[in-house]
């Protein structure tokens, strides 16, 4: 194993089709037109010295080190800013160039500290490399004059010197080491799109400045790490590198946070993780990252992590640490007892969207083949189950249609109920880059998300709808497209069922769906709807990206269908730049759905009642499978309360915190006799558990994650599991204890089993992934290299299906008691229920959930910014602090759900999507009133949590 060094070509690749041939140092090189001489040289293996150029950002031409000579041209042009031309004869090393480069380096080094031996970048410093490359031996200017290097100069305070900025928890800014190459500034602008950095002053006074000469933490910086990655010196350095030293080997793996699925190099010293660096060949992230994937991995070593299995008889007892063998034997005997006593269907399990495909596959296999029922469900139930259902109905596949690269070809982007710059930041950056190039943006969201207006990006239309009226707004958009005749008739006739279209068109054209009518209850001005519809239908390549603001409604599935209708009606399917793209919340939520985690579906979305599919698995597994769908999560809880469901194996999910109506969840769990929680931490669900099996992190196992673009990415083990076993091994040992004869020795064998049984994965194997890097399903004989874009020559189901989308208002209504509508969302620095990110330094950005409330509503209730408020719905109440902002409209309040002490889901109700039971998180009628402190429920719960987390023989952690 060695450190993976990626070649830096100096300037981005050219996309030109035309090829140009030139000669560099006597070698003939052929490259696409528009390529820089620097890049062409590197492609030929000739490294031109450089400092300010790096291939993540455009050429800048400031360092004057990459100069070359070109026969027949005057002077010494910089190779980064000079494009190739046919027949050029370029020299990168001449006597004249050597002299110039030495002179330039001399100037650089005359204002740079000479502490290389003790410098954190020692071994990874481009300035050092270039000094070596140009043969710098002497600095004639000395170090005594004006400089930025020394705190005191000739005994006096040096006003030019600036101290280190250590405000960011993950990296430091040491201005004394800065060579002002602007790479950080350009990375922040071009790659991340935040524009948080600038060069202040001019000439010798030039300094990199976050914000207006602020500390990094106070500035607009979002801590994505692009600047740190771009810095050629130790000026911007990860604190982990300063603490540990340079890494010695690395492996490419996949981030375990959101559904973008960024590829990272995990850079290691032995088994210690030094840093995570985004991988430029990663086809989802193209070398970019966000604060979570790049830095927030500290939870893996957090003191709260549980490393030994634990058992207890009653949930009021303290935990008792046991051996793995005891734990497995206990669970197996309990599950057997329950099934004997209460029937085969009395137990079930929940797969995790945080675990690998292989692990998820094993859990559902354990339930179907071992428990002998289909009581398996997954957390996708509470997020994207309507996507699976809706897109399955309309197109024939339950997944997004595009790859992330596709956004580079979009002309109009519609973002519905998603907040990419917070929830999917790396995709958000790629989207912003396209918007800066001129693509138009339509945002449909009750809240003014960052994308509506952020430096250099402004939405053409923001439709601030009332929560719960998605279907009405989308049908109104369709109304405009149909009645104004701006649909794509040729596409529809060729690809879709024309008579179904006519039926749908007649439906949406009804006058009650006109924007003027829907405005009355959606709150979106008709003119905005008309403008947005025209732009989407006629603005070129139109792409729709959506999130949980679409799915987590009582009409979630209907909304997904309405989105599919819009895309089909305008011909925006089946080529780059268009499509319907769910932004998946979790790293492997796509994969967990693919792997047969739903009670009615075997892997590959094939119904459990389908005899041929069952036959495949029955032959492979040597069992008879139940052909009836099992229980969904809410049904399991209902059954538990009724007394017919008694035991559950929950892998990597905190249903108590993430599922709606917390009181109902806790009642269900409390009614069970054997709750097995398999997780990194004693999560909230574990308060009700009888057995705790410690989990492993993504750094500790091999496997694959499937991201939102159906991309199967490898996860590679870089350290041994601290708890002893990877999660797939735990499931296997549990299965063995229950009498199943499983003998997997590596996750690749599980993937082989998936490939052998599931047609859309037929071509996938670890060897193939090793060659390809990653691959997008379907990957089989028909699509040997995978499918970046789906439905290219026709829909998977045959003809695209238009479905009527009647708006039915949710039963959750505002009234005199609960006059406000609560909707929920995420924030950049925290992830989901926060189990991981709350255990990292990310809490400096967000250490509590706040309730966003419009100034008007706040004033009416006498609430000031920062006040404690009581948030009550008919389901329950909680307290948190208010944040007064006009991001939300009057009548709407908003909060995040990252912190367990807030328990936003105490408030949410048990209404859910009509088709899939996906809970209606995004609409709850609430009242807000001033408060002095925690509610009774919060106090009780805190006491319960404290008692439930006691471990026998261990002192309670002093808080």
């Amino acid at each position: 194993m060695s450190l993976i060094h990626e070649i830096d070509y100096g300037t981005p690749a050219s996309r030109s089709e035309a090829q140009v041939t030139l000669t560099i140092d006597g070698r003939e090189v052929t490259v696409p037109a528009g390529t820089s001489i620097m890049r062409a040289s590197m492609e030929a293996g000739i490294q031109v010295p450089k400092l300010c150029a790096t291939d993540m950002v455009d050429a800048f031409g400031s360092c004057r080190l990459c100069l070359v000579e070109v026969d027949g041209r005057n002077g010494t042009p910089s190779s980064c800013t000079t494009p190739v031309a046919p027949g050029l004869v370029v020299h990168t090393q001449t006597e004249r160039l050597k002299q110039i480069r030495k002179g330039v380096m001399e100037l650089y080094i005359s204002d740079h500290p000479l502490d290389c031996l003790t410098c954190a970048a020692n071994g990874d410093c481009e300035l050092q490399d270039m000094a070596g490359a140009v043969g710098l031996r002497d600095v004639r200017y000395g170090y005594e004059g004006d400089n930025h290097v020394k705190a005191r100069n000739n005994g006096e305070i040096n006003v030019k010197w600036m101290p280190k900025d250590e405000s960011n928890p993950y990296f430091t800014y040491d201005p004394s080491k800065c060579i002002v190459c602007s790479r950080c500034v350009r990375a922040c602008e071009e790659v991340q799109g935040t524009f948080a950095l600038t060069i202040e002053g001019r000439g010798f006074d030039s300094r990199v400045s976050p914000g207006m000469h602020e500390h990094f933490l106070e500035s607009e910086c979002v801590s994505c790490g692009a600047c740190v990655q771009a810095c050629p010196t130790a000026t911007l350095t990860e604190k982990s590198v300063i603490a540990i030293g340079q890494p010695e080997h690395s492996a490419v793996t996949t981030c375990a946070y959101c559904g973008v699925g960024c590829s990272f190099k995990a850079e290691m010293r032995g088994e210690e993780l030094v840093r995570m660096v985004p991988y430029k060949d990663g086809q989802a992230n193209r070398g970019h990252s966000c604060v979570k994937g790049r830095f927030a991995y500290g939870y893996a070593n957090h003191k709260d992590r549980i490393l030994n299995p634990m058992v207890r008889e009653k949930i009021t007892d303290p935990w008792r640490e046991v051996t793995w063998e005891e734990a497995f034997a206990h669970v197996a005997s309990e599950f057997k007892r329950l099934q004997y006593q209460y029937g085969r269907d009395s137990i079930g399990g929940i797969t995790s969207s945080r675990c690998t495909n292989e692990e998820t596959f094993l859990v559902q296999k354990l339930i179907r083949a071992g428990f002998g029922n289909n009581n398996v469900d997954t957390c996708a139930r509470v997020c994207h189950s309507p996507t699976g259902y809706g897109l399955g109905q309309a197109f024939g596949t339950s997944a997004g249609t595009q790859n992330f690269d596709s956004v580079e070809h979009s002309d109009v982007v519609v973002v519905i109920g998603a907040n990419p710059t917070d929830g999917h930041p790396v995709f958000g950056s790629r989207l912003k880059k396209r918007l800066r190039q001129g693509a138009k943006l339509i945002v449909i969201d009750p809240r003014r998300i960052d994308l509506v207006k952020t430096p250099h990006v402004e939405a053409a239309y923001h439709l601030p709808l009332k929560p719960g009226t998605n279907v009405a707004v989308l049908t109104a958009l369709a109304h405009v497209i149909v009645t104004e005749g701006i649909f794509d008739e040729a596409f529809i006739r060729e690809r879709c069922d024309w008579s179904e279209f006519q039926d749908w068109a007649a439906f949406v054209a009804e006058p009650q769906h006109s924007p003027e009518e829907t405005e009355k209850f959606t709150g979106v001005p008709a003119e905005l709807i008309r403008g947005a519809a025209r732009l989407y239908a006629q603005g070129g390549n139109g792409a729709i990206y959506y999130g949980l603001g679409v799915t987590e409604h009582s009409q979630g599935s209907t909304t997904v269908m309405a989105i599919a209708n819009l895309a089909m009606a305008t011909g925006n399917i089946g080529r780059p730049g268009v499509g319907v793209n769910p932004l998946r919340g979790q790293n492997n939520v796509q994969g967990s759905c693919d792997m047969g985690s739903f009670p009615h579906e075997l892997p590959g979305y094939r119904h459990i009642s389908d005899d041929a599919t069952r036959d495949t698995f029955e032959k492979m597994w040597g069992v008879t499978l139940n052909n009836e769908p099992g229980l969904r999560i809410p049904n399991m809880l209902d059954a538990a309360v009724e007394g017919t469901f008694k035991g559950i194996y929950i892998q990597g999910e905190d249903i108590l915190q993430s599922d709606p109506d917390t009181k109902h969840v806790s009642a269900g769990l409390a009614a069970m006799e054997c709750v097995v929680v398999h997780d990194l931490f004693l999560n909230e669900t574990a308060n009700y558990a009888h057995v705790f099996l410690p989990g492993s992190t993504f750094l500790e196992k091999d496997g694959t994650f499937t991201n939102a673009e159906r991309r199967i990415n490898r996860v590679r083990k870089v350290m041994s599991p601290k708890n002893g076993y990877a999660d797939w091994e735990v499931t296997q040992k549990l299965a063995q204890a229950m009498g199943l004869n499983w003998t997997y020795t590596h996750p690749s064998q599980i993937m082989d089993e998936i490939a052998a049984t599931t047609p859309s994965f037929a071509g996938v194997s670890y060897d193939y992934l090793e060659t390809m890097g990653s691959v997008q399903w379907p990957c089989n004989e028909k699509y040997p290299v995978g499918s970046p874009i789906m439905h290219v020559d026709g829909f998977v189901r045959g003809k695209g299906k238009f479905i009527r989308t009647e708006y039915v208002a949710t039963d959750e209504r505002t009234g005199p008691r609960f006059p406000l509508l609560l909707t929920t969302g995420r924030i950049l620095s925290q992830y989901n229920v926060g189990a991981q990110t709350r255990r990292t330094e990310n809490v400096v950005w967000h250490d509590e959930d706040r309730l966003e409330i419009h100034p008007h509503d706040a004033e009416q209730r006498g609430i000031k910014d920062g006040d404690w408020i009581r948030l009550a719905s008919r389901a329950g109440d909680t307290t948190l602090r208010a944040l007064i902002t006009d991001r939300v409209a009057p009548g709407v309040v908003y909060t995040t759900f990252h912190h367990p002490d807030t328990q936003a889901n105490v408030i949410t109700t048990d209404f859910s999507d009509w088709a899939t039971n996906c809970p209606e998180y995004k609409v709850t009628a609430v009242q807000v009133s001033p408060s002095n402190g925690p509610t009774e429920w919060q106090q009780d719960y805190e006491e319960l949590t404290r008692r439930a987390r006691r471990i026998a023989g261990k002192m309670e952690a002093a808080e």
């Binding site: 524009f195 060069i199 914000g211 207006m212 602020e214 430096p455």
Partner: protein
Amino acid sequence: MNVHVAGGIYAERALSIIRERKHLEGPMLPILHAMQHEFGFIPEEVKPVIADELNLSRAEVHGVVTFYHDFRDAPAGRHTLKLCRAEACQSMGADAVANRLRQLLGIDFHQTTLDGAVTLEPVYCLGLCACAPAAMLDDEVYGRVDEDCLAEIVAEVRR
């Protein structure tokens, strides 16, 4: 390091200055000139206002403002005296003039006299090389600056 200015006495006026000019092509410099004209300097608190109105980041506005020496971060004295320090003027004795001026005013470059009468700034070429050494008092240029000329300037600013 944090240099936010408390209060909002400039922000409101700044907003109307910005809105009158934001339709211009490349509106930032006209806006900054108007602010400097109005306030005598570019108050820190108007930078976020400009950023918000032009849909830029605070950093970008800060970068532009600090790039130009003419945009001041604090008000100048009643008069601003700029003395050319570029090559042609240096060769014609600008250094001696500078020393004499420092003596007469009792301040160094970038400083303002205690009575607030004048701020002394270096400038790198006024385009008056033929009449070096050159100076500029407020909007008026002086060529071939000598002892008499300096006396006149000092009398003018002290008036």
